[in-house]
Each structure stands twice: as structure tokens, then as C-alpha cells.
Symmetry: C2
């Protein structure tokens, strides 16, 4: 039985977005525009000093699920939070977006993960991330019933740093495949790929139906210097059913057996902040895919979603994505069984 | 028996490149930067008024063959000239480049075709083309023996305006295929495609192994607005073995069955004049192809040749292409039977 179009498994992080002045960054010795990993103690200290801000569910996969729900897809989320204030924020926020977050919170271990997003007047974003409970996700956190009843299980590579999470990915893929469903993976980050290249290659070759990767990530995966060389390596070693390779302003390339789509980037008047471009591309593509649309059309929906997110600050859409798709493309074909 | 790697069939035009001032263009009512088709009489009058210039073999296919020979390929050329001064210039110049031009000149009809290239101080090029004898090419001008002994027969779409030339294309393709060889076509021009869309579609679907087209041309061929839609139409209706689609600064896409290459444009410090970019792309690709190289490598050679030609004025390479390829790529693999 299908209950969900898509279930995302990711780093369950709460974004705390707040405005500070340059003096605050200097005082805290934070280099403007960077992302620093911090521990829970340091995050607590910083958080205590911040002015009031907006607290929303975040994380790469969370962004994807938020976009997916806005487009009209039925989604669920699996991630690890603690039984604390931020854990409740995360759950409430995702549920309010229409994404089912049904994990029980952990009752011990580190607190819910947070990303403190410090926005200065010049619109630069300086981030301090405490992964907290999120990165400790393991097989025990997987809700097998949700995975078995989702057309596609989507997992973010950021989680892939710990052996426990790697095992959870493998188990989630088994749940999905045993039920005849699909597994999608995003590589997330070239440095993450670099740290776990063999494990990622194995994951892609053995468990992945739909692969998302940007240019840096796919070059890192196959240790080549040119996009076309990565494309050939993927063809030879990847064994994925569908590959979606994103190339920023160069658009994207979608490959499925003998079918190839070369999708142009959707024009934007100004690129303000590229955070979330890949997350929203995946949201748009998977929305089209789970409706059974032609892959070229899936790619165009993806490009429109990515263009929306980079035209403003932050990784959550400001425009109504469904309305935007309808305005740019027209009415979508009726869903088809895939 | 193979005597040639490549035979080109094209508009045999002599380029007369000369420097004029803006006053001359005004006096002759020529809009700067345009290409105007003129008749032989008008070309004679203009030519009589020009200062001394450089007279070289030209035409799109001539440019390709010149590049092909510079790379080290063995080439021949088929085109129609008259038994006049410019006919001798064309023959001598091509032969001097190492390309066999063995057609007997026509003894009646219009004179050899000329392209008067008027270069002003600001480096703009204003062109007046008298196609003359060139466009009257027919089956009688085809040297069947040359075609039968060439690995690939390459034909330029510019010739495709007259029924006689269209018949000659069909006959040339028969000669090539009957001998087990390949036929390559370049669409040349979106307006030309627009004038003869059905005939071009038939040519592509029924006679073409290797298709070259730029983005405007392939959009025109299938009357679509997006590159990816053209790619899908080509897959569905084109029936070509290899398609090379060039996209200016977006690079090129090469498709062969389930094999796809997405080749980036080779960086250039300044784009000076894009004339000949497609011609030299074809030269580079076909050089690699006729040596049996991997299609991705063929595409890279093509991109390097195209980058050379757009970095200066004129459609003939200024740098030694073979040396350039060797510097950028290194030693090429040994030729392989294709």
C-alpha cells in the first residue's frame, strides 16, 4: 500500500535564523560567510547571546521535503531529534508544512541539532552547526512501515559520516527495494564524498535507483577533472537507473538508459544565495517523478524550483511553488503510475 | 580501398579579404557586419573597386577541410568552380593546404563563387557573397571514385537550396553507403533549414550517419523552443548514428546510442569572431572520428579547434592545430579501425 510519494531521511536540524551586526561575529571570532561545526556546549553559549530569531525545521533533506510538500506531494520525514525544545520545534514545523514527522524523539544522548544562521546587514550568512542528535541516526530510528509504503526513499549524503548511519542507509534501501519501491540518494557535498569515497561508490552502485549530484560531487566520486569523464564513469560503474547531475548556471543533465535530457538553468534576474539549490532541484524532480511525468518535464520543474530558491536568501521557497510551476509550464499532465 | 579519411562536398567559394574604410561601405550601401547575397555582375563591380586583398579558398566546408588537413587528416574536396581566375585560385589554394581538389572546372555557366570580405578598422566583417558556379553543383560534379574511397563523406547544408544539389546529396550518400562508408551532414544555417525543413528531415532520417547542428539549427529542424525538446525529437525521428549538437559557450552534446558526452566549451581569453566555429568543430570531431578515437576525445579535439578559430578574425586557423591539440591533450592514441 502506498501512503507516501516520498520519505526523506536526513540530518534533522533546526535552523535558528537571526540578525546580528559585524561586531558580534568579531566578538565570537566567526569568519563571515563560513559554516563552522560546533559542539552542543558552544552552540548553547552562542544561542544564549543571540537576539530573538526565527526557528524552523532545516537541513538539506528537510528543505527538499518542504519544497516537495509545497508542490503538492505527500511526504514523510525520518530523522533523529531529542525530547527537547528544539526537537518539538522541528516536529511541529515539518508537520505544519504537511510533512509527516513520526519518529519518536531520543530520550538520551546529545540535544537536537541546530544550525545558527547569523545574518548580517550585508545579507551574508554565517553558520554554526551543532549536528547534535541528528548525526547519530541509526537503524533503530528507521520507521520500516513508512519506508515500505513510500514510492521513493530519499537519503542525504551529509548523514554518511558515521558507520551507524551508513548501515541505516543500507537497511532503508532494503526496506524500499523489498517492497518494490525506489531509492534516491544525494551526494550532498564533495568533501563528504572525499572522506567516504569507497562507501559512496558502493552505495551508488549497489543500492541507488536515482542519484542526485552536483558537478563537484560527481567529479569527486570518480576522481576525474572533467564533467564528461564523470558522466562516462557513472555510465560504466554507477549502475543507477536515473542520474540527475546539476551544473549551476550550466543547467543539468538527466540520464536514464538511452534517454538523455539536457536541461537549461531557468533564468533568474539575480542570484542572491545559492543555499538550497540542490535541495529544491531534488524536490522538483522527485515531485514530477512520483507523478509519473516524463523525465524532461521533471527536470524543468526541478530547474524552476532551484531558480526560485537562489533568487532570495534562505533555503525555503518564498513563492508558491505549485503556482510558479503552473505559470511557467501550464497544467501538468495527470499522474501516471510509475 | 581507402584513399581519404574525409571528402567534403560544399560551396566552392573564394574569399577575397580586403580592408576598407567606413566610407566605402556607405558609398556601396552595405550595412556593416551583415552578409548580403549578390549576383556576379554586382560582385564584379565591387571587386573592381576594392584595394588589393588576400584571395583564399573559403566556404564553410572548405574551412572544415583546411582544419582537417592541418590536424593531419587526409582529405579531398568536391565543389563546382568555373574555368576562370578564381576557379584556379580555389584549386591551387586547397591543394596547397594538402586537400585534393580534383573536380574538372565547368566550362559554361556563371563564374566561380566569391565572398568579398570587407574588413573595417574596427575589425567588423561585412560580406558580399556571389555563389556563382558553386551553388549549381549537381550529380555530374560528384567524383564517385573519391567518395567510394573516403571513410566519411561530409556535406554542408548551405548547398541544399537547389533541387539539383539535393539530388547530388542523395547520390553521394548512396556512393558512400554502398561502399560501407559513413555520411556526415551539417545543417549550416537555421534559415536554410527553415526553407527546406521536410527535405532536411528526410536527409537526416534516411541518409545521415553523423549529424552536426548548432542549437538554432536543431530547434528549427524540429520546430521546438527548447534544446532538450530538440534532443528528444532527434532521438525519436532523427535515426542518426551520432549527433553532434553545438551550443556556443554552453559547449556541445554528442549522442551515440546509449552513449552521451557533454563537452564543455574550451576557454578562450576573448571571443573575437565566431565565424567558422562550427566548421572547425566538425574538422576536429571528424579528425578524431576517422582515427577511431573515443567520441568524448573527438568532442574535446573539436572544442579546442572551435576555440582557436573564435579567438581571432577569420575562419582559418592561425595556430598549428595539431600542435595545439598535442599541447592541450597530449599525444593522441594510435589510430583504430572504425
Amino acid at each position: 500500500m502506498i501512503a507516501y510519494d516520498l520519505v526523506g531521511i536526513g540530518n534533522a536540524l533546526v535552523d535558528v535564523v537571526t540578525h546580528v551586526d559585524d561586531g558580534f561575529l568579531q566578538e565570537q571570532r566567526l569568519a563571515k560567510g563560513t559554516m563552522t561545526l560546533v559542539d552542543s556546549q558552544r552552540a548553547d553559549v552562542l544561542y544564549g547571546k543571540l537576539p530573538p530569531g526565527v526557528e524552523v525545521s532545516g537541513g538539506s533533506c528537510g528543505n527538499t521535503m518542504a519544497g516537495f510538500a509545497m508542490l503538492g506531494g505527500k511526504g514523510a520525514y525520518i530523522g533523529r531529534v531529542r525530547d527537547d525544545y528544539f526537537g518539538r520545534v522541528f516536529r511541529h514545523d515539518l508537520n505544519a508544512l504537511g510533512v509527516d514527522f513520526s519518529n519518536e524523539p531520543a530520550t538520551d544522548g546529545p540535544p537536537t541539532g541546530r544550525c545558527l544562521v547569523l545574518v548580517t546587514r550585508d545579507a551574508h550568512r554565517t553558520m554554526c552547526t551543532d549536528l547534535g542528535a541528528a548525526s547519530l541516526l541509526g537503524v533503530g530510528d528507521l520507521n520500516g512501515g513508512v519506508i515500505q509504503s513510500s514510492k521513493v526513499t530519499y537519503m542525504e549524503g551529509y548523514l554518511f559520516d558515521r558507520p551507524d548511519a551508513q548501515r541505516a542507509f543500507g537497511r532503508a534501501a532494503e526496506y524500499a527495494h523489498d517492497s518494490g519501491h525506489k531509492v534516491a540518494i544525494t551526494l550532498s557535498d564533495p568533501f563528504c564524498v572525499d572522506r567516504h569515497r569507497d562507501a559512496f561508490r558502493e552505495l551508488v552502485a549497489a543500492h541507488t535507483d536515482i542519484l542526485f549530484a552536483n558537478e563537484d560531487e560527481i567529479l569527486s566520486l570518480y576522481q576525474v577533472e572533467r564533467f564528461d569523464d564523470a558522466l562516462q564513469a557513472l555510465h560504466k560503474f554507477g549502475h543507477v537507473d536515473i542520474a540527475c547531475l546539476t551544473r549551476s548556471e550550466k543547467g543539468s543533465v538527466i540520464v536514464h538508459d538511452g534517454e538523455v535530457h539536457v536541461i537549461d538553468a531557468e533564468p533568474v534576474s539575480e542570484v542572491v544565495d545559492t543555499t538550497g539549490a540542490g535541495d529544491l532541484f531534488a524536490a522538483g524532480f522527485l515531485f514530477g517523478y512520483t507523478r509519473g511525468l516524463d523525465l524532461g518535464l521533471c527536470g524543468r520543474i526541478a530547474a524552476i524550483c532551484a531558480a526560485e530558491i537562489i533568487s532570495h536568501n534562505g533555503a525555503r521557497p518564498e513563492q508558491d511553488l505549485a503556482a510558479l510551476i503552473s505559470a511557467r509550464i501550464g497544467e501538468l499532465p495527470n499522474p501516471v503510475e510509475r
